[in-house]
């Protein structure tokens, strides 16, 4: 494959062309084969140091990145906000500059402030991979979703994809929307009006507040987690009312096409946004998303590391 990748950072799918996204997905396919081998490790990042810098709690994304780094033979440093000097009053930029002085190569960074990784990427020669910035962007999650959709459906162009739930606070939704639009899918965002802003219509996304209408023609339904930690005000009356109006449960499957796949970025609130029967059922690709996440993150780290010039 001839490379079309020239970026030292992966910050948002908004910044990428369709060619760049497809190149990332194709590269991930190669790395997926690595994890299916007996010996699951390649020397691609040997001698490189990756800092997993998480200023906001994360388990699955951090573990997925860490395993991807191990399988690429990178040296790894894990920094978490609770144990870092940010607690002592050091600015984020100073913390990054100090780590950079240790000759590290890449930052995999999660932060609660939208755009924080853009701010850091502009101020460091190291590569920056965004592992989630507030409600803004989570590009590797969107890439693994695109990878899974392409694997299941054979293509993305022309598909109808519905993203359901708390769109307002969701970096997963914002990243998926840009990736899907760039690759030619039709996107609908759905959920209660308090969590689904109309402004998404301005970029060609359909907005829908009725669950049955939202899923009727969909090829893919991506169910988002109700993020209790971000819902600091009253957006809907109760989990049970949410489940009854917007929860994906067996009865709703009857309104979908027979080959619609159900996705969820995890962690799931069972029987709130998705019932156990659906999450564990035959249409669910939730665990395959997790497997594909590893391949996608290996591809991203490999390509980005190749563009860091120091």
């Amino acid at each position: 494959m001839e490379t079309v990748w020239t970026r030292k950072d992966l910050l948002s799918l908004y910044d990428l062309s369709a060619d760049e996204i497809i190149f990332l997905l194709d590269t991930a396919e190669e790395f997926k084969k690595v994890s299916e081998r007996n010996v699951k490790k390649v020397p691609a990042l040997r001698g490189k140091t990756v800092v997993n810098f998480f200023v906001e709690p994360s388990t699955r994304t951090r573990v997925s990145f860490e395993l991807a780094e191990q399988r690429l033979s990178a040296d790894i440093i894990n920094v978490q906000a609770s144990t870092s000097s940010l607690k002592k009053g050091e600015t984020l930029l100073d913390t990054i500059k100090n780590l950079e002085a240790l000759q590290v190569d890449l930052f995999v960074m999660r932060h609660a402030s939208p755009g924080a990784q853009y701010f850091i990427a502009e101020n460091t020669k190291c590569g920056v991979v965004n592992a989630g910035d507030g409600a803004h962007s989570h590009p590797t999650q969107a890439l693994l979703d695109l990878f899974t959709i392409r694997e299941k459906k054979g293509h993305i162009d022309g598909l109808k994809v519905t993203i359901l739930g708390d769109i307002l606070h969701s970096r997963v939704a914002r990243s998926n929307i840009w990736g899907l639009l760039k690759l030619g899918a039709e996107v609908t965002v759905a959920g209660p009006p308090t969590l689904v802003p109309r402004e998404f219509e301005s970029i060609g996304v359909k907005v829908c507040h009725n669950l049955k209408d939202a899923v009727r023609d969909a090829d893919v339904v991506n169910v988002l987690r109700i993020q209790h930690e971000r819902l600091n005000a009253s957006f809907f009356p109760s989990d049970s009312e949410y489940a009854s109006f917007y929860g994906i449960k067996p009865g709703i499957l009857d309104y979908m096409k027979p080959d619609t796949i159900i996705m969820h970025p995890g962690p799931i609130n069972r029987d709130v946004e998705i019932s156990s029967a659906v999450a564990d059922g035959s249409r669910s690709v939730i665990l395959e998303q997790v497997t594909n996440g590893l391949a996608v993150r290996m591809a991203v780290l490999f390509l980005v590391a190749g563009c860091v010039k120091k």
Binding site: S113, P114, F119, H136, E199, F200, N232
Partner: protein, 433 residues
């Protein structure tokens, strides 16, 4: 500053005085700090202002000097010098200092230090409430005796409508105008950018226009109820503008100011994550921006004020949502508004000058501010056509937090005279032998 020279003849100036309606080319005489007939000036320094405009001194009724309390960002000395360089002969520093200007002693501190360090006139402003906390009325009578010319809780908004009503009533007896930062706190929530397309796409927490418009409507109701002057600070939303337009038609004592950044910029710029685009009220949509420009043209908005808000580089070089609100504006206000309003064909020069002179003077109740003979010689001199690129390294302000660095503008301040003293002087080439 030229020590000891107080007498001038400013020759061939295009004199634009919106107080009198004058727009003519003539000589201006200045003797002992007062405007006089040029023929009677003794030992004058003669300056040829051919091609330049001379106007009554500009007044900025919305400035943060940061002294006392935050002198690493600005001081009375640097802030008033920045004002002079921006063409302002008078400013109103907001009282949200530390300690706040909510008592006579702090006002006396301000007056004592401006007497020594101040380059331009400083019109003191007191708070509406103690420590601008919005809970108890400030000692407004004592503040008046200490010399304040207006009252404001800028940075915050009194949420209790009954308390606000009593403040307006109480301030009226002292003829003190209320300058109000309009913001309803529940709707604002933890927002830090305009709620609209860009906040939604970027995942940033928005402040809806309704947060401002709701309090503008409240102030209109109170101005009508009490029959006293309330001035809406840094108006940013189309809905607010329409409320003010209707109220002024009804004769309610409401006025409003717009900032150069709300005239020139929109919320689309926040996608750069540059904290020099973060201020409160936030940059709003193009529709809001156009509504503000229309309201300047039809005199719904009578004042341009900068909301000059200095912050250190350290405090601004952080994650966007964690940065403080505010940008500096004194040294860019005239070039930016000349470019965006005069050269864009929205306002004539007399109309634009009026927003910096007649409008603010009406809010403060200032008299004798025209260029009529016998008035103090407060004069702003500028070249309306000089084109240049804004270089923030040249600023006199102690801070550099501006979104206008690198912008090409047309119009430059050349001289600022306060009471017959040329406190900012870029007129060396205009000196006559």
């Amino acid at each position: 500053m030229i020590e000891g020279i107080n007498n001038f003849i400013l020759r061939n100036a295009r004199v634009i005085d919106p107080f009198t309606g004058e727009d003519s080319v003539r000589d201006i005489g200045v003797m002992d700090g007062v405007l006089v007939n040029p023929e009677g000036v003794l030992n004058p320094l003669e300056i040829d202002l051919k091609g330049l405009v001379a106007a009554p001194g500009f007044i900025d009724i919305h400035v943060h000097l940061r002294q006392p309390g935050k002198t690493e960002a600005e001081t009375i000395a640097t802030g008033t010098m920045a004002a002079a360089a921006g063409g302002f002969t008078g400013i109103v520093p907001m009282p949200n200092t530390s300690p706040a200007c909510d008592n006579a002693s702090t006002i006396e501190y301000l007056r004592r230090h401006t007497a020594v360090d101040g380059v331009v006139r400083v019109y003191p402003c007191g708070t509406l409430t103690k420590n601008y906390a919005g809970e108890e009325m400030a000692p407004i009578g004592s503040l008046k005796n200490a010399g304040v010319m207006a009252l404001s809780d800028d940075g915050r908004c009194v949420q209790n409508h009954d308390l606000m009503r009593h403040i307006v009533e109480y301030a009226k007896q002292f003829e003190l105008p209320i300058l109000d930062h309009c913001e309803e706190n529940y709707l604002k929530g933890s927002g830090y950018v305009h709620e609209g397309k860009w906040s939604v796409l970027l995942g940033m927490t928005g402040i809806p226009s309704a947060s401002e418009a709701l309090m503008v409507a409240r102030d209109i109701m109170l101005a009508k109820l009490v029959d006293w002057k309330i001035h809406i600070q840094h108006i940013s939303a189309k809905d607010s503008v329409e409320l003010v337009r209707r109220a002024r038609k009804e004769g309610i004592k409401i006025s409003a100011e717009a900032t150069p950044h709300h005239i020139a910029l929109t919320d689309e710029y926040i996608k750069r994550y540059d904290t020099n685009y973060k201020m409160n009220p936030p940059l709003r949509s193009e529709e809001d921006r156009l509504a503000i420009i229309e309201a300047l043209a039809d005199d719904t908005i009578t004042v341009i004020a900068t909301d000059h808000a200095p912050h250190t580089q350290t405090s601004k070089l952080v994650e966007f949502d964690q940065a403080p609100f505010g940008i500096i504006g004194l040294e860019t206000a005239l070039p930016v508004t000349l470019t965006e309003l005069y050269h864009a064909g929205v306002l004539s020069l007399p109309q634009l000058i009026s927003k910096f002179t007649v409008g603010p003077a009406e809010v403060l109740g200032l008299r004798n501010h025209s260029l009529a003979l016998g008035n103090p010689a407060d004069i702003t001199i500028f070249d309306p056509d000089f084109e240049y690129v804004i270089d923030k390294k040249q600023f006199y302000s102690k801070s550099r937090n501006t979104p206008f660095a690198g912008m090409t503008v047309k119009g430059k301040v050349r001289g600022t005279m306060v009471c017959g003293r040329l406190v900012y002087d870029d007129l060396a080439e205009q000196r006559m032998a």
